[in-house]
Symmetry: C2
Subunit: 334 residues, 2 copies
DNA sequence: GTGAAAGCGCTAACAG
DNA sequence: CTGTTAGCGCTTTCAC
């Protein structure tokens, strides 16, 4: 079923059929209607590859993300897909398995097949990011770098909210459990929490680097216990959850003996008991925004000052935060 | 950067360059090496759309699934992607949001852009499935229907394992909490558990139909309590988890007062306490198998007896199953 | 407002 | 083994 079949069936030239789909307004109403009716009747659908060959646009966008197994990312995928479909875009999803080394290669191999890419929490170095942007129009999601268009979240403000909450509860020794070294968000969060802690006169302990997974969180338990803090903020919910579990297995009561705050507000966080106090980051929304931004970039290539949006996070207080337990030390040794 | 650029740079014809990529063995070693070196040097990459226009193959496969927010599906996506990338295939992921009405439309709109599709847990009716298979080579994942190639899991056997386990523990009144009415797996599981229960002389209570989500599980709590069973098997882990939580909020102790078994073994199930006893279904593996099967179908179109694989499930006993509590009724009323 | 012709980048006969 | 030719399905000048 090609455009020529429709053309001859409708008694017009292929060009006219083409115009009916790409610039309907310039073709006479009667003709257009006849053609479109015929097209529907024959169940004709333009071949996007053929169209792309001449227009240079594929109608696809690429999405690179570190790990679909972290429930944070599927939410983003849903937002991105929803918004992309509204504009008739299809999305290629690529999971990099948290391996920075393969990111650029995947971008390159995808470049020809997409009109643009959304790089979600990329672990690449800035220079690689710049190169990626060279290969295909790029929007950064949850990262900012080198003037590339981006949509991010208010990491520093999120940390401030966390510290404000803990300070109000009376904590004065707080830990931060770091995620991957290469994570840009992680660096933002550390910087933000340092500043917020200082503002409150709170002592901040930075605890290791851990994989941004449940297992990573379990591995952090030891360090958290040794640090002597009464509360911790974790790089993300998965780490917070792993920590929560490992602590419980060692007989530590959360939140009585230790308060925990995560980041992301993945669905699991509300499913466990005690339910995790966390910083809710807009997931589907940031995905949608990223698509809008990308389409905008595609529509106005080479525009100056590509926008860098920042979406706010919001503290969701659940059950893992409480005032510090003054007698905790006594109890543990007793 | 087209094939002609490479051709003239290497002093050969475009066809030769083409052959170097598609059938390297038929071109003389020296020539081939020179061409490939030139191609690398110029960073030439074949345009897949152009190639597809003539070969009729896109190098893409489509993946339709009901809900990325259920952690079960991201695991499958990972398996599928991994395997697809090994054969240089890219994958379009489409989330249908558990809406059977849109499935066929999405298949149609994707058909032209892919070489084949994997329909994962589709909710369509058999006739629609048959139509989908008409539009594009199709492999069913976690469903079987009308002789289409498929990879599924041993649902009935899984239910048998669950019932064996509960029977061994001493339960004789067991509930099954159903998922979506349209779910084929759900029907398989009901049939399987009926048979298994009968074989053990166990009374089976079938409890409602619920959304295959955490909320769906919460909604099931009331019915489970009223049914008077001492153990339930849920359609999936998400329902089991929602149920677990809702019960705890009502003061029901799991597993003392009620045993719960889920299906899927999503990662969350091991993160909660009590950790969920569940039937582990091979997720990444079934994804990989589906890709293999699809590629096989693409390689031998029209082959007879398309294979219908069945992968086994395995009971993972964790903390939500225990012998029935004889004094439960007394306690509740006391 | 519509048609004819050219060509996007590539592969597949067919010669040589 | 390699080059020449034709054309995949579509959009887009350029005439009419």
């Amino acid at each position: 079923m090609t455009i020529r079949d429709v053309a001859s069936a409708a008694g017009v030239s292929p060009s006219t059929v083409s115009r009916c789909f790409t610039q309907p307004e310039i073709v006479e109403a009667a003709t257009r209607e006849r053609v479109l009716r015929m097209a529907t009747h024959l169940d004709y659908r333009p071949n996007r590859a053929a169209r792309g060959l001449i227009t240079g646009r594929t109608g696809n966008i690429g999405l690179l993300l570190p790990d679909l197994a972290n429930p944070f990312f599927p939410s983003i995928v849903k937002g991105i897909q929803h918004q992309a479909h509204l504009s008739e875009y299809q999305v290629f999803v690529v999971d990099t398995d948290e391996d920075p080394a393969v990111e650029l290669g995947l971008v390159r191999s995808l470049a020809k097949q997409v009109d643009g890419m959304i790089l979600c929490s990329p672990r690449m170095r800035p220079a690689e990011l710049a190169e990626a942007a060279t290969v295909s129009p790029t929007v950064l999601l949850h990262r900012r770098a080198g003037g590339l268009p981006s949509v991010g979240i208010g990491n520093a403000d999120a940390m401030r909210q966390a510290i404000d909450h803990l300070a109000a509860l009376g904590h004065d020794r707080v830990g931060f459990v770091s995620g991957p070294r290469r994570s840009w968000s992680g660096r933002q969060r550390v910087a933000g929490i340092r500043k917020a802690a200082a503002a409150h006169g709170i002592t901040l302990e930075e605890i290791g680097h851990f994989a941004p997974t449940f297992e990573g969180g379990s591995a952090a338990a030891q360090g958290v216990l040794l640090s002597g803090v009464t509360a911790v903020v974790a790089y993300n919910d998965l780490i917070a959850l792993g920590l929560l579990n490992a602590l419980r297995d060692r007989g530590v009561d959360v939140p009585r003996d230790l308060s925990i705050i995560g980041v992301d507000d993945i669905s699991v966080s509300a499913m466990v008991r005690p339910a995790l106090t966390t910083l809710s980051v807009p997931k589907e929304e940031s995905g949608r925004e990223a698509v809008d931004l990308l389409l905008q970039v595609l529509a106005h290539p080479g525009a100056r000052n590509p926008p860098a949006e920042t979406l706010p996070c919001r503290l969701t207080v659940r059950q893992t935060t409480a005032p510090p337990n003054q007698r905790a030390a006594t109890r543990t040794t007793a």
